[in-house]
Symmetry: C3
Subunit: 351 residues, 3 copies
């Protein structure tokens, strides 16, 4: 199906640096999953277990890895079909950048500075001493508090709050409803009440970070809570005060990191993980979902379970667990048999 936005298969193969097996002039209208693809769509096969689905698909062509044969169907060979999809999607779904300018309903403090080519949309607020840099986008109802920075080309989705003293780098994306810079959770019990420790530190979000929806990242007590360059954070994650996260780390949804932690670079924390305060997780470490991490994890380590232990040991324990009730019975049987044998030998076990 030809039309606006239709591309030729040969052009797409070149864009992803793939090898084309098929007719380069084949028109491609869009990308779709194997099940949902129609004539005119390019689909993708990530492994042999999807071969049957591919054969039954109505797609006009496929992105597929070397060795995965689809006789009679046009294929673009690429090492990683999903990476190719990531590259081609913007072609068919161009996201128009919002028009620059400040919406008349936006509220800017006198001392706020907003770049001419930034977009400040309906009802957005920019507080005293804050800076919105070139091509940054504040979606409707974003609230930027005092002494914040929104770096070049960063996008804050609706209802994002930067409370105060939050520094957001360049090309950062923060999804709707996330709150950066709320007070850390710090009290001292004076014998009668919990006295609040004022939280006067900052939040620093480095370049190319992406933060999901309804996330909370607290400001430091003193100093800074830091999210390192290129790190990606999923929805509903909590990051406590003074925690420092390295670069290119992945934090999956609903994970909570307490205060004063050191999370390395290229770490992967699964979903619903809890990390206790002052814990260090080394570069490249991986923590399985729902784990509770109370001790440091070495660089490159894998941790799992509550409390988290090395993942291989945790998996053995988890696999053994359902056998525990049977084990209890087996040991009771053994005790009876040993007592019986001892009786026969005239041995009362010293009792």
């Amino acid at each position: 199906m030809q039309g606006v936005g239709t591309r030729r298969l040969g052009e797409l193969a070149r864009l992803v640096e793939g090898q084309l097996e098929g007719e380069p002039a084949t028109p491609i209208r869009g990308l779709a999953s194997l099940e949902q693809a129609e004539t005119g769509d390019l689909s993708f096969v990530t492994g042999p277990k999807y071969r049957t689905a591919a054969e039954q698909s109505r797609a006009s062509a496929f992105l597929a890895p070397p060795g995965l044969e689809l006789p009679g169907r046009p294929v673009i060979r690429v090492a990683d079909p999903f990476l190719a999809v990531a590259r081609l999607l913007p072609l068919f779904h161009p996201e128009p950048w919002p028009a620059p300018g400040v919406h008349p309903t936006a509220v800017l403090a006198e001392s706020a500075r907003v770049a001419r080519d930034a977009s400040v949309m309906a009802c957005a607020v920019v507080g005293a001493g804050s800076v919105v840099e070139s091509r940054a986008v504040l979606h409707p109802h974003v609230v930027v508090g005092e002494r914040c920075r929104v770096g070049e080309g960063s996008v804050l989705h609706p209802h994002v709050v930067l409370r105060a003293d939050v520094d957001v780098g360049r090309r950062v994306v923060i999804h709707a409803g996330s709150v950066l810079g709320a007070d850390g959770f710090g009290y001292v019990f004076d014998g009668t009440h919990h006295q609040k420790i004022p939280q006067v530190g900052r939040v620093v979000v480095e370049d190319d970070v992406e933060i999901g929806a309804n996330v909370t990242i607290d400001r430091a007590t003193l100093g800074a809570t830091v999210i390192g360059r290129g790190t990606k954070i999923d929805n509903l994650v909590q990051i406590g005060h003074n925690t420092v996260v390295g670069a290119d780390t992945i934090i999956v949804a609903q994970t909570g990191i307490a205060g004063s932690c050191r999370i390395g670079s290229r770490v992967v924390l699964g979903g619903q993980v809890g990390v206790a305060d002052h814990v260090t997780i080394g570069d490249g470490a991986q923590v399985g979902s729902q784990s509770g991490v109370h001790r440091d994890v070495a660089p490159g380590g894998a941790a799992l379970g509550t409390p988290a232990i090395p993942a291989a040991a945790a998996r053995r324990t988890m696999a053994a667990l359902p056998r525990l009730p049977g084990l209890l019975r087996a040991v009771r049987t053994l005790e009876r048999r040993v007592a019986e044998l001892a009786r026969r030998l005239g041995d009362d076990g010293g009792r």
Copy 2:
């Protein structure tokens, strides 16, 4: 106590199709729990364990199941007293529907279409190409992005965000702060950085769904994330991209469902459950709170634990767990006794 909104007990019995044991003219002013009820209130007894509390209650009458005797007190007999409460509450607490119209502070895109009898309240935003149908209500500060639909009679509470391409059916309720249509969490590691996979799919919420506060439901990569008709979702739940949830399913607070899952109809997921990506949970299955589901659950199945296994087996394991330290000691004792017996038999166990 008679007054505005006072009803007669006989009328209430008819409304819930119950059998009245007592004076139909008894005036009833409101509903209250056994402890908080005053003269003039109708209360409810759900089972025999609340009989003493009922006897001590000041309520003027009771909704009670057959067989639960309360001598000398007026009773409306119904099979399910709580269902009767649900039916009678709106009578005493009528929730006035907001007046139709668009508040002067609301911001509507030129291409947005809002029904004449819809309510668009203070500072609400409706983006390009979006539709707000008849009698729908956008509470203050709701942000409806581009190409969305808010179906007939649906209510979006304050600060709800429909990011883009979100289709909300009829009579849907979404509580405050929830975000539908944020980007799914999808990246491909290119060897150096995490490359974002553009998320260009939709979210579809079918009729009669209710969604709690500060929930996040991500848009699909391609295709749609779907919440089926009549499903009820509690607060702070996360639903990943491309996941499809069936009809009349219950998802309790803080549960997280990863991407590309298939959750059936009439499923119950307890609180703080985690479901790994690509998992299928069959119709009518039940998953216990805090479980971590990594494998499919059959229709009608019950799963529990991390990793989740059939609930009966998981309960046996959980009951046995506190006996593990004692078991370790018992086995050490056995090993000593067996070694001793072997020595007496002149057997060294092959060692």
Copy 3:
């Protein structure tokens, strides 16, 4: 380094009622951690394990407990250095109270009453029948619904929602994005669909409570959900309908409490804890992080694990768990040896 806001060490010692060892005229410009302190900063040492860091610090003086020697360095002796920090921080980081008045973009219902010296900031909304008391602060985009109260000196950060019938006491702080008064999660299954039980009760937040960001606290079905005086709640916590929390309790991030619970005073719930409905947790009890509490916890008790049991027993179980796979092997070995011994004795174990 002297300047605006510089204080003398002697003055600071007096303010925290500490004993000064050093020159009272020493100028102090601010507070900083041991690592980040520069000349002119006062730092703090909470225990002997930080002595080396203190000796290497560039701080001009230290808050330190009795007995912790730092030869040649000025020290203010205090029993609890962190409590002293909490008291001194506001001195160096005064938080200016917002100017009173109603911003022109705020939207007030006719029947709303706002004290003259309250602050209602940009785009804030106050609904019908609601009251904002003296010196209360509604940050930008706060939505106060119908029949609510915001008590004297309380601060609601951006995007906080009080849905309806929410009573907030005095000196309460609610951080950004939190939702109080959304409907509780209550349905009755009528055999076909989940019928909603109308939620018409209230939320009561007593004086001096602090609530984190993106928290959800549901209104009661009937009666009230209550947060007791001085209680502190961290980010992303869920509190169900009709639950009553006592005074001076601590609830750490991402914990979820179901409906109709009774949580005592001075309780501590760790992070990511789940509490099932109708559970009572007694005064002063402590629950370890990620626990799942299904049964009552006695006053002063300590609970841990899923399902939660007394903490000491749970710790023994957790410590024993990694030994389970080895135990399975040991028991199999024992069974073989016992069978062998029995054979030698001519005993077939009754089989």
